[in-house]
């Protein structure tokens, strides 16, 4: 399958032509993909027992569940790889021509989520969120992601770093974070954000992928840093 593209200029032009509600481009070669994505959308809504009109208020569980579906739908096409997933114009096409109605239910007419802001194109963000968190299966991935928030999506996806993502590392960080109890997360406000920041700083002097103790111990050190800091405060 060839993945159609849409440039920034064309995206802007198309969106400016919408009159309050998006128009689907019913080109025959995308209809299969659209019906798959629509079916997944309906499934997700009924699974979560919510209405599409409620999505605009923001809903992490929807982003995660739909992300899990979208991730697997795209990945079943052999031609869909990280090259495709890094091509903003492919995401612009998908967002504006294939499932603009779904993007609209989630974000209204926010152009940044359709095409304008490459890091925030919603469909792209949820695909990468799942990709950077993937634990080998849908169930295992859901298990580590289920108590996260929309802010965690931002923290993970938007901290690409100047040279890109270390995928095995982000998956390990997510695994570790997902294994914390609710109490542990509650005790340490915004620990995920703090860990991601610490990682950025630490990766300047130590390459996480080459840590002599292995990636797991590198990640454990990141989390322990805040856990220990908290205990020191408590005991002093």
């Amino acid at each position: 399958m060839k993945w159609e593209e849409l440039s920034k200029q064309k995206a802007e032009f198309i969106m400016s032509g919408w009159n309050g509600f998006p128009k689907v481009n019913e080109k025959s070669n995308d209809l299969n993909l659209r019906s798959e994505l629509m079916a997944a959308f309906e499934d997700t809504l009924s699974f979560l027992e919510i209405n599409k009109e409620d999505l605009i208020k923001g809903n992490y569980r929807f982003d995660m569940e739909y992300g899990l579906k979208v991730y697997q739908i795209f990945n079943q096409y052999p031609s869909f790889n990280v090259r495709t997933a890094s091509n903003n114009n492919v995401w612009r096409y998908l967002s504006l021509e294939v499932i603009p109605d779904i993007v609209y239910y989630r974000w209204g007419m926010r152009e940044g989520r359709f095409w304008k802001d490459p890091r925030r194109i919603w469909l792209k963000a949820i695909w990468w969120y799942i990709h950077l968190s993937w634990q080998g299966s849908e169930e295992a991935t859901r298990e580590v992601l289920k108590s996260n928030t929309t802010d965690d999506i931002v923290q993970l996806v938007e901290r690409a770093g100047s040279l890109g993502y270390r995928v095995t590392l982000t998956r390990e960080i997510i695994r570790h974070y997902g294994s914390l109890t609710k109490e542990q997360k509650g005790r340490n406000n915004q620990i995920f954000r703090k860990v991601m920041k610490l990682n950025t700083a630490r990766a300047k002097t130590v390459e996480p992928d080459l840590h002599p103790g292995g990636q797991q111990s590198y990640v454990k050190e990141l989390f322990d840093y805040f856990e220990n800091a908290r205990e020191e405060v408590k005991s002093s």
Binding site: K8, Q9, N81, L163, E207, L210, G213, Y218
Partner: protein
């Protein structure tokens, strides 16, 4: 690697020279039923970052459907300089050489350990690079950085307490290579369009964040109109470099792009080079200013220095 200020001695240029790092030739190949060798082309090996590309004699390699194997054997002739009081680690520590690879256009990076050695290892230390990227995982460029880091800390003696000694600590980069995978490596985004009612050429500046967005067609481009009556004169049948009109289009476009950049809130960063993502528009302009010596202090000096540079160098 970002330039963090280190509180311990690192491998600087002087020490790299003393080490006697001997880079070997790069070998590129891919697998079909057998291993297909490709030809390495050295575009620029005199800069601090070498620029190379490869060509498949069979024209079969493409980044979507073929893997890419990168091999290279290099040597460090005098590793002993790294150890002890005047080196970078305590004399009984163990060091490792690793490679950091990245392909910014797909937002992917990784690292691999290549070898370890200590003060007692035989010289030279041999470093075998052997990377195999599966199809569909690289785009435009592959960036390789060879680093030295601590694999096992030592026992710092009294005169070694100033040295770095933590496991994993990066002590420096000994070699950096930019490998062009697609395109010609000259990143200037020029596209041809056919629009009968439009002028001969124009510039599109469509970036959102100059510090981050790539210097590529998506965010900035020069459009040259093939449907224009004067299009023939742009290239005038000769080499691009020989066309004064083309040179003038380039000069005016670049000037327009820089003016637009000056209006953005991030211009100070572009000038100073702080917080620039490699490959971004900001990084490209920073390079023009610092390396080509373009003078951005006034419109007329910018106009002058761009043209002077292009006429001398194209």
């Amino acid at each position: 690697m970002s330039q963090a200020i280190a509180l311990y001695p690192t491998i600087d240029e002087q020490l790299t020279t003393k080490l006697g790092f001997e880079p070997g030739p790069f070998k590129f190949s891919y697998t079909t039923d057998v291993v297909q060798d490709m030809e390495t082309q050295y575009l620029d090996v005199n800069s601090s970052v070498s620029l190379i590309k490869f060509e498949d004699p069979g024209y079969q390699w493409d980044p979507d459907n073929k893997n890419l194997i990168v091999r290279r054997t290099s040597y460090i002739s005098n590793p002993a300089f790294l150890f002890g009081q005047y080196g970078v680690v305590p004399k009984d520590a163990e060091l490792a050489v690793g490679v950091l690879w990245s392909s910014k256009s797909v937002n992917m990076r990784g690292a691999q350990k290549l070898t370890t050695f200590n003060a007692a290892s035989a010289s030279p230390v041999q470093i075998d690079l052997d990377l195999d990227f599966s199809p569909g995982n690289l785009k435009h460029e592959l960036y390789l950085e060879m680093i030295v880091y601590i694999s096992k800390p030592g026992n710092a003696g009294d005169n070694e307490t100033h040295l770095g000694n933590q496991p994993g600590l990066i002590l420096g980069t000994i070699d950096t290579t930019r490998i062009v995978l697609e395109g010609n490596g000259s990143v200037f985004p020029i596209v041809e369009v056919a629009e009968e009612t439009m002028p001969l050429w124009w510039v599109v500046c469509a970036w959102t964040d100059i510090l981050e967005d790539g210097f590529d067609e998506e965010n900035v481009k020069i459009c040259i109109n093939t449907a224009h009556k004067n299009f023939d004169q742009v290239y005038s049948g000769k080499k691009i470099q020989d066309s004064p009109l083309f040179l003038e289009i380039m000069a005016s476009s670049l000037q327009t792009i820089i003016h637009k950049a000056q209006e953005s809130g991030s211009w100070q960063n572009v000038k100073s080079g702080d917080d620039l993502v490699p490959g971004s528009i900001g990084a490209a302009i920073h390079y023009f200013i610092t390396t080509f010596g373009w003078d951005v202090s006034s419109p007329e000096s910018l106009s002058f220095s761009i043209r002077q540079y292009l006429e001398d160098h194209m």
